[in-house]
Symmetry: C2
Subunit: 404 residues, 2 copies
């Protein structure tokens, strides 16, 4: 198993493109992405848990109810959510994409990200589709990755190569993270492609299992978007025997998927709005995995912890505080805390109380770009990792700016 | 029922004082407060739900287990929490306070706020107590209010006068809000005094009932401190017949208490760390009160809503988003949202979708210091109010500063 280039085009039979069609005012910003499989593919997706759901998610859910799809279309600049005709517009996007590709509208996954509560003008999409389809290529992944960005500062993509019964398979993905288009809310979108042969049921099982430990463990600001979606297409062109049940092959596939998704999670968290640091919180010794997850997320979501990390302040009291209000029943007197980074490691709390440590070393550790917050509970074998970012002036600036 | 001056000294038989004793380095900052009742009083308190609890809370809980107390001592500058000898130090504070006042150590309520995880040096308290006791007076409330401040920008106090069976009663309080002493976490402390006669059981019932709609509906940053406490003393010197059961008198007392606590909640929220605006979120039409509370708190806790209010941005999509992920089952298509302030009122969302509104008016409304976020759900009769503040550069600065 190794990482390779190509993003969503690393898998056989997938092409991608990304262009500026005119939804976004700024001509230098791409705003329309397309991913296309030469052959029909198994499809699966997971959606935001927010009761306010973007219209594109509703349409996608209906379209892949049969476990099949062949294309993914996504615009940035308008989330097509909380408006009167969202469903209609999302269906129209599928219909025109299907027509341009010569496939069925029901085989299109559709997503949108950007401002909510405003009518989506699909004329630019209609006009741009011919160019978008003409630009589909094996090397289009990075253009597609750019076209789904909002306030992301860099595109996010990766591909992984792995073996299934002697066949070389690939799985690749692009993601957009917690950035905002001019006035509105952060949205996480991830599009994954693979040439491994796997049934829709097993693909869905794989995705639903994986996100519990990956995308669901990422937090930038605690706000769950209306438009979050992770979707995956598997077209089987690698020629492996189709995975239809759990077993060795399924485990290998899960491993490859997880390698991809953990990388994208780290990209998303580290590129959170205004972030200067990626935070990785590792909790071990919890009574069970659920307890470890709850505590890891409580720490990564604490505004006070996040602000302390921005200030490179080894303020472990805030970590203990976040453990204490997480809702998990822990024995505070057994909690150990340390901070790690490429600059070293510093233990700051042992058995629930402060221990002497070098403030100088602590500052060196916390001035790095990737910080580990490590918590040991001494209660059992449960462990979990959560990813987040620091809370910065820039976050306030991005989200406090006037819309006008 | 009317508001009066005097704070915690408005009630008969209560004296207060606040001095600088030396726990805080800055000599211009008071750091030790004392409130004393001439006679033993009914006592009640509520404490943080954080599993990590400050040592003073544990000691206070034991001391008022009999429903009686006569004095309240509180230092700022060190929270006496997450250290090896916290309980011992908190008990020592009670003992030396009791000795100076000629009462029993078990009749002292003790609280601390400030940095956690560091040993509390009680020498300055021991040295300062004689002066503190000598300064006890009917006019000491504002000094006491100052002595419990950390990063609060102003002292918080109020008193209310009311009638119980022909006797004039008073209830007054001081509070410190969500400010931080140099390195550590926000803590809310509230000390209330009344000369009404009320049994310890009914006093506890009143306090526990009231905070569900007041202090528990305040959020500055979602972090529950280890040292939060609201405590109350009732010395009976107003001469009313003791309240020992629910009824008309108890209702009047509850009303007076609520007038005081709502005022203090607004003070605490509006003076949240770095805040420039007080946010008051009113939810109506919920299926029940619990649903209304959950939604109001979800909105008031949203970093995106808070940042938008800082930017005077009528970004109602974020309000809808926070409703959607609150966990309450609502019909989004019936949600109305409006913003109000002294500058006017602007409706921005009707039946879950945006409606045309004057951006100019919206900006005028949101540039004020006190903003109402009003949500109507159309599901029933449940309603609730929550208080919070905007998220600002200053919040990040206060909480991201190096400790050293």
């Amino acid at each position: 198993m190794k990482t390779v280039t190509g993003g969503v085009c690393a898998a056989k039979g997938f092409k991608a493109a990304g262009i500026h069609c005119g939804i976004r005012k700024n001509h230098s910003k791409k705003d329309l992405a397309l991913i296309f499989s030469e052959v029909p593919a198994s499809a699966a997706a997971v959606y935001t848990t927010n009761l306010v759901k973007g219209a594109p998610l509703t349409v996608t859910k209906a379209n892949i109810a049969d476990g099949k799809a062949q294309a993914m279309i996504c615009n940035s600049g308008n989330a097509n959510t909380c408006n009167a005709d969202g469903i209609e517009k999302a269906q129209a996007m599928c219909a025109m994409t299907a027509q341009a590709l010569g496939i069925k509208a029901e085989d299109v996954i559709v997503a949108s990200t950007g401002v909510i509560g405003q009518t989506l003008d699909i004329t630019p999409i209609e006009t741009g589709l011919a160019q978008l389809v003409s630009e589909l290529s094996d090397e289009g992944s990075s253009n597609a990755a750019q076209a789904i960005m909002t306030t992301d500062t860099q595109p996010k993509e990766l591909a992984v190569e792995f073996q299934l019964d002697g066949k070389t398979c690939h799985i690749g993905g692009i993601a957009k993270g917690s950035g905002m288009i001019h006035p509105n809310m952060a949205t996480m979108l991830v599009f994954i492609t693979t040439d491994a042969a796997i049934s829709p049921e097993m693909l869905s099982l794989a995705l639903k299992g994986d996100i519990q430990n990956t995308f669901n463990m990422v937090s930038v600001d605690g706000d769950t978007s209306t438009n979050d979606m992770v979707s995956i297409l598997a077209n089987g062109l690698a020629g492996n025997e189709e995975i239809t049940a759990p077993g060795q092959d399924f485990s290998v596939f899960m491993k490859a998927l997880n390698t991809l998704t953990v990388y994208l999670c780290r990209c998303i968290a580290g590129d959170g709005e205004g972030a200067t640091k990626l935070l990785e919180c590792s909790v071990s010794g919890a009574a069970d995995e659920a307890a470890a997850k709850t505590i890891a997320k409580s720490i990564i979501c604490s505004s006070l912890v996040k602000a302390a990390m921005f200030g490179a302040d080894a303020n472990w009291g805030r970590v203990l505080c976040a453990i204490g209000y997480s809702g998990v029943d822990v024995d505070v007197n057994k909690v150990d805390v340390s901070f790690t980074s490429p600059a070293g490691s510093v233990e700051v709390c042992k058995d629930g109380a402060g221990i002497p440590f070098s403030e100088e070393l602590a500052k060196q550790v916390l001035l790095e770009k990737e910080i580990g917050i490590n918590v040991s509970l001494g209660d059992g074998e449960g462990q979990a990792v959560a990813w987040g970012c620091d809370l910065t002036y820039e976050y306030v600036k991005i989200n406090g700016d006037y819309r006008t």
